[in-house]
């Protein structure tokens, strides 16, 4: 079933390219239907009894490698997020050459589905690079400054190469790469382990991104068309964090402890650094980009304090951040299509003419600043509870500063756009159309439901939690 999901989405993605030129509008609905079917398939699964793994040998020499797909708790949270956000992003899509756009978006979904379900390191590494291609092409084809695409590609391919190198080394030394989700299989004393982990870590940190590997990110997020930015910021950026949870922690348990200090320091720097830059950035998309740097830094910290609360919080926050950053990008996209700018200093007073738009942005911004009662809060609460419990009281206190800053910068964007006097020189545009509301509504629903009870996401059974518990 999992193979069918991944390969089926891939095939159907290619089918979108075959649409005739006249059927651009139909292509969008085709894409929505495909993504929705995937989502329905995922929702039908039972978290207590995931479908069995599916595996086929595809390499025996120089090491054994399988096309191995399987579902775990963390994967399940992520693929649900991915499917939901893809549906919403496709609903909100309104671009020229729509069929190609839709095809690439579905391809992006398919590669990431495969990535989060991959149980084999080599498969993981290959899909890691494969998922760059659709984003790169989307950027080349639909962004204002296609040159930014090269920056994205070079940074991420550099990371991808390290990942591949690490995977190859791992395979040659340990004989197999079919190891994800099998618990700790590496002899801890091995001299190669830290180098492999380091290669993986750099790849993961670039992708997330974490300070100081983040400079590709603000421009990329700002340049990408909003639906793509929503998917990339909400799901693709989680690939690295997922990598740490699913690969780093189980395979290199002892060495991750050696790496913990560095990771926590990097995460903390990113946490505050992103927040203060978001405080002054004028481009709304860059504010969200730098806020992502801040939020994802917090998740990195959560992973590397090795605490059950923090790890479960990390998963909740990964999902919550996925929903609210996607919502932010889509809503900013709505504003941008109406006002042809997204500078906080230029826009003002939209709430008067577009109350629904204002409401939508309010919910997205409030979730992003961690309003209690919405999903982001639950994630922050669990993470910081765990951070404190793990003995980093000062770090928990420092993170609270970032939460206060988050309130300041998110409100700055919201109020800059929506409140204040109307700007007379900006075009008067209608409020959100029903379709635009439908596109963001699932995200808001998810944010509220997760905020009321994050339990389901936090309690998906996953070997990462059991390993953490056994260690203690």
């Amino acid at each position: 079933m999992l193979t069918a999901l991944v390969l089926g989405t891939t095939l159907l993605a290619f089918l979108a390219f075959a649409f005739p030129k006249s059927a651009n509008g139909a292509a969008k609905w085709y894409g929505v239907a495909v993504a929705l079917a995937g989502l329905v398939l995922l929702e039908l699964m039972d978290p207590a009894a995931f479908p069995p793994d599916e595996s086929a040998r595809w390499l025996s020499y120089p090491f054994a490698s399988n096309f191995h797909l399987g579902m775990g708790g963390v994967s399940y949270a992520l693929v649900q997020l991915l499917a939901t956000v893809t549906v919403c992003a496709l609903l909100a899509t309104n671009v020229p050459r729509q069929r190609n756009f839709v095809g690439l978006m579905l391809l992006l979904e398919a590669t990431m589905l495969g990535l989060f379900l991959a149980k084999d390191l080599l498969l993981f590494a290959l899909l890691w690079d494969a998922m760059l291609i659709p984003v790169f092409l989307l950027m080349i084809g639909w962004s204002v400054h296609p040159a930014t695409a090269w920056r994205y590609l070079i940074y991420n391919v550099a990371g991808g190469l390290l990942l591949l190198l690490g995977t190859a080394t791992y395979g040659v030394i340990y004989g197999t790469t079919d190891v994800i989700g099998k618990g700790q299989v590496t002899p801890i004393s091995d001299a190669w382990a830290p180098w492999i982990l380091a290669a993986f870590a750099v790849a993961f940190l670039v992708k997330t991104p974490v300070f100081p590997f983040h400079t590709w990110m603000p421009d990329t997020y700002a340049e990408l068309p909003s639906p793509v930015a929503a998917v990339v910021s909400s799901v693709q950026s989680k690939a690295g964090l997922y990598g740490f949870i699913a690969i780093g922690l189980p395979l290199f348990t002892a060495w991750t402890h050696e790496f913990a200090t560095v990771m926590i320091v990097l995460g903390t720097i990113g946490l505050l650094y992103g927040a203060v830059i978001a405080l002054v950035a004028d481009d709304a998309k860059k504010v969200v980009a730098y806020s992502s740097l801040s939020h994802l830094g917090l998740i990195l910290i959560a992973i590397f304090v090795f605490n059950d609360y923090a790890l479960r919080g990390a998963v909740v926050y990964i999902v919550a951040h996925g929903f609210f950053s996607a919502a932010m990008f889509l809503v900013i996209g709505y504003v941008e299509t109406r006002e042809e700018t997204r500078l906080v200093s230029r826009i003002g007073g939209l709430a008067r003419g577009s109350p629904i738009l204002a409401g939508a942005m309010a919910i997205a911004a409030l979730a992003a600043l961690g309003l209690p009662g919405l999903a982001g809060f639950a994630g922050e609460l669990f993470i910081l509870t765990g951070v404190y419990q793990a003995g980093y009281a000062w770090l928990a206190a420092l993170a609270l500063v970032a939460i206060v800053l988050a309130a300041a910068y998110m409100l700055r964007v919201y109020q800059g756009f929506m409140h204040g006097p109307e700007q007379a020189d900006l075009p008067q545009r209608p409020d959100l159309r029903p379709l635009e509301i439908v596109a963001v509504a699932p995200l808001f629903l998810a944010l509220v439901l997760l905020g009321v009870n994050p339990g389901p996401v936090a309690n998906y059974p996953d070997q990462a939690y059991t390993m953490l518990a056994e260690k203690r």
């Binding site: 940074y155 300070f211 100081p212 983040h214 400079t215 603000p218 650094y273 203060v276 830059i277 978001a278 405080l279 002054v280 950035a281 730098y290 609360y309 479960r312 007073g349 709430a351 008067r352 109350p355 409030l366 600043l369 309003l371 209690p372 009662g373 809060f377 639950a378 922050e380 609460l381 669990f382 910081l384 509870t385 951070v387 404190y388 419990q389 009281a393 928990a396 206190a397 609270l400 939460i403 206060v404 800053l405 309130a407 300041a408 409100l411 700055r412 109020q415 929506m418 409140h419 204040g420 006097p421 109307e422 009321v452 009870n453 994050p454 339990g455 936090a458 309690n459």
Partner: protein, 668 residues
């Protein structure tokens, strides 16, 4: 003891306002003027359900009981240690009664006050949402749901302060209030971390049981209390997190009455009263809270002297009165502090609503210098304001007298003579600035037609917080002929008279009083009267306070109310405006300090990192790598001449070098 079994009405109390908010928010444009009655009905249902639930609890409880017995039930468990549910006990009951009761009156009043405003449905949606959020706060049986309510009331406050969002000053005030309240939220968050680490649970019961079991090591209990108090200080406008409250007067007046006087700002008092076992366990925490509360009471009263905006005067008086409450619950006088919350809700709501009537009558004038002589023009407002002012000053036998004297005397009983002195002094200052307002506003002659500059108003358009550059939104939508009937606004105020005058009688009779019987199950022996702990009796203390209050009123009369003062009031007001201490007009420079210490540095950091470090240093390093690669390329390029013979020569020399090398190495 399940909530669903014993108190089926609890969900109705809790969710009726939420349903109202959702209905009005979704259907607002269609409901139009019906949104007001629907909003009122939602709160009314909640209030009736509260009473019914109380009656039900008394009937089914032990004979002679006047209160509900604490009960809570878990509704949902997030993860281990995070079991969340609702709680129904006397303390919650007191707050719920005020939130829904006074809340209903203020909703009713708003139907008149907000009549004709473009945002009429939006206003009621926000107000209903606020009531829901506040009920969430007080009905929680754990710190997480409490914090959810805590955050949501802040959100409602944000939207209502910025209700007229076209005004930049309102937008700035809303942001300021929200961000300062987030500072408070994270304080409570930190306390939750400690609790989970120590007792492994976020529920009140487990946290307090931990105090009994001495689970907190060393200073941890104090740190937890202090962290909680950061939340209280932000929400209840305690020094140094108070400066958002005066600015919050940008919101419509009913908002100021409900949120920034009667209910939300007292959440800090609720939290400390709720967590009294923790405070009982830490003397340092009691000391801290008592001192901050006393300081706030004094500071608010002093700042109240220097204000000209009628709503800002009331805002500072709110801050000062909450200082009393915090001081009360801080020193351990939980019943007194809660009683002061109870009576304050009535008289402060009445003050604000009456101020709203005045502001409404004068077409949104808020500067008291441009009022005057309104006694004859607005007799109802005058009598209402006078009675409520006497109540806030603690004039016997009005409600404020009982609660304020209880708090002040308790500080002495619990052994804080300095706080007692502050309490007495503040009572005098309160009487002075409140009567200053009454005299300037209602006595003498009307000054609204006089040139503002002759009153010392330098920037008339900026003088009030909201008599502003932009026309008041009321005016745009509806001409004044279409004003709602006056009784919509006067009737709720008339009802509030009852509370303002009689609410204090509940405390008559010491341990036999209704109030003691109500709260005794919560606080137990901690609020039992202690004999002989104070150097003099409560009656003597009351007499002392009364004398000080009379002195304050007398001073205000001499400066503003006497015949001589009223005769040349214009010149006097101008003089005072010009000679006002900068310390007072700038509110002790708290805003400037916060700006210089926190706001500017973070923005400067942001600019520095965003403009310099990120593009030039970090990305610069990457670009440097690219440049070096280019340079290397250029270097190697020069070797590629394209001349075959040059290549050949290189090869020959290379081969020769190999041979020579091996010849030499081979020789050794």
């Amino acid at each position: 003891m399940g909530i669903e079994g014993q108190y089926p009405l609890l969900f109705l109390i809790w969710l009726a306002p939420f349903a109202g908010a959702i209905v009005i928010w979704a259907l607002g444009p269609k409901l139009k003027s019906w949104s007001g009655p629907i909003g009122c009905a939602a709160i009314g249902v909640s209030f009736v359900a509260t009473l019914a639930s109380w009656a039900d609890a008394v009937r089914s409880g032990p004979a002679g009981a006047t209160t509900v017995v604490g009960a809570h039930q878990t509704m949902v468990t997030w993860i281990k240690g995070f079991a969340l549910g609702l709680l129904w006990d006397p303390l919650t009951l007191v707050w719920t009664l005020i939130i829904t009761g006074v809340g209903f009156l203020i909703h009713f009043y708003s139907m008149g006050y907000m009549h004709g405003d473009r945002g009429y449905p939006r206003f009621f949606a926000y107000m209903n949402f606020f009531v829901f959020a506040m009920l969430t706060l007080v009905l929680a049986d754990n710190f997480v749901v409490l914090l959810v309510g805590w955050g949501l009331v802040g959100l409602a406050s944000f939207f209502l302060i910025g209700f007229w969002f076209e005004r930049p000053s309102a937008v700035a005030a809303a942001t300021k209030a929200f961000v300062m309240n987030v500072v408070g939220d994270v304080g409570i968050l930190f306390a939750i971390f400690i609790l989970v680490a120590v007792v492994g649970s976020v529920s009140f019961a487990d946290a307090f049981a931990g105090v009994q079991a001495h689970a907190y090591n060393g200073q941890l209990l104090f740190i937890a209390c202090a962290a909680l108090f950061v939340g209280c200080a932000a929400k209840s406008a305690q020094v140094p997190l108070h400066s958002w409250l005066p600015d919050a007067m940008e919101g419509p007046t009913p908002v100021s009455a409900l949120i920034h006087a009667a209910t939300m700002v007292t959440a800090g008092v609720y939290l400390i009263a709720r967590c009294w076992p923790m405070w009982q366990g830490s003397a340092d925490a009691r000391e801290l809270v008592g001192v901050i509360g006393g300081l706030t009471a004094l500071l608010g009263a002093i700042l109240g002297i220097g204000q000209w905006d009628i709503k800002r005067i009331l805002a500072y008086s709110t801050m000062s009165q909450i200082g009393y409450m915090i001081m009360g619950v801080g020193v351990g006088a939980y019943d007194g502090g809660v009683l002061h919350f109870f009576t304050h809700a009535f008289f402060k709501a009445q003050l604000f609503l009456t101020a709203g009537i005045v502001i409404h009558a004068l077409h949104n004038e808020q500067d008291v210098r441009r009022m005057g002589g309104l006694r004859a023009r607005e007799p109802f407002a005058f009598w209402s304001m006078l009675v409520a002012t006497l109540s806030i000053c603690g004039f016997p036998p009005l409600a404020g007298f009982f609660s304020k004297d209880a708090v002040v005397y308790e500080t002495l009983v619990k052994g804080h003579p300095v706080l007692y002195a502050i309490g007495v002094l503040t009572a005098g200052i309160t009487a002075y600035y409140m009567f200053r307002m009454v005299f300037i506003t209602f006595f003498g002659t009307y000054r609204g037609e006089i040139d503002p500059s002759s009153l010392g108003i330098r920037h008339p358009e900026l003088a009030g917080t909201s008599a502003g550059l932009l026309k008041h939104p009321h005016d745009e939508a509806a001409p004044h002929e279409e004003h709602a009937p006056a009784w919509l606004m006067t009737a709720p105020v008339a009802v509030l008279f009852v509370g303002t005058i009689f609410a204090g009688f509940l405390d008559l009779g010491g341990t036999n009083s209704f109030w003691y019987g109500l709260l005794q199950p919560v606080f137990g022996a901690t609020i039992a009267p202690v004999e002989g702990a104070a150097p003099f009796s409560e009656l003597a203390s009351s007499a002392l306070v009364f004398i000080v209050v009379l002195a304050g009123i007398g001073l205000a009369y001499l400066r503003y109310g006497s015949t001589a003062a009223l005769r040349d009031s214009v010149a006097r007001l101008r003089n005072e405006s010009i000679r006002m201490f900068p310390l007072l007009t700038n509110a002790f420079y708290f805003d400037a300090a916060i700006d210089a210490l926190f706001v500017r540095p973070s923005r400067a950091f942001g600019t520095f990192f965003g403009v310099v470090v990120d593009p030039l240093v970090i990305d610069g390093a990457v670009r440097e790598a690219r440049v070096s690669a280019l340079w290397l390329g250029h270097l190697f390029r020069s070797f590629q001449t394209g001349l075959v013979r040059a290549y050949a020569l290189t090869i020959v020399f290379g081969a020769a070098a190999f041979i020579v090398y091996y010849a030499v190495v081979g020789a050794h």
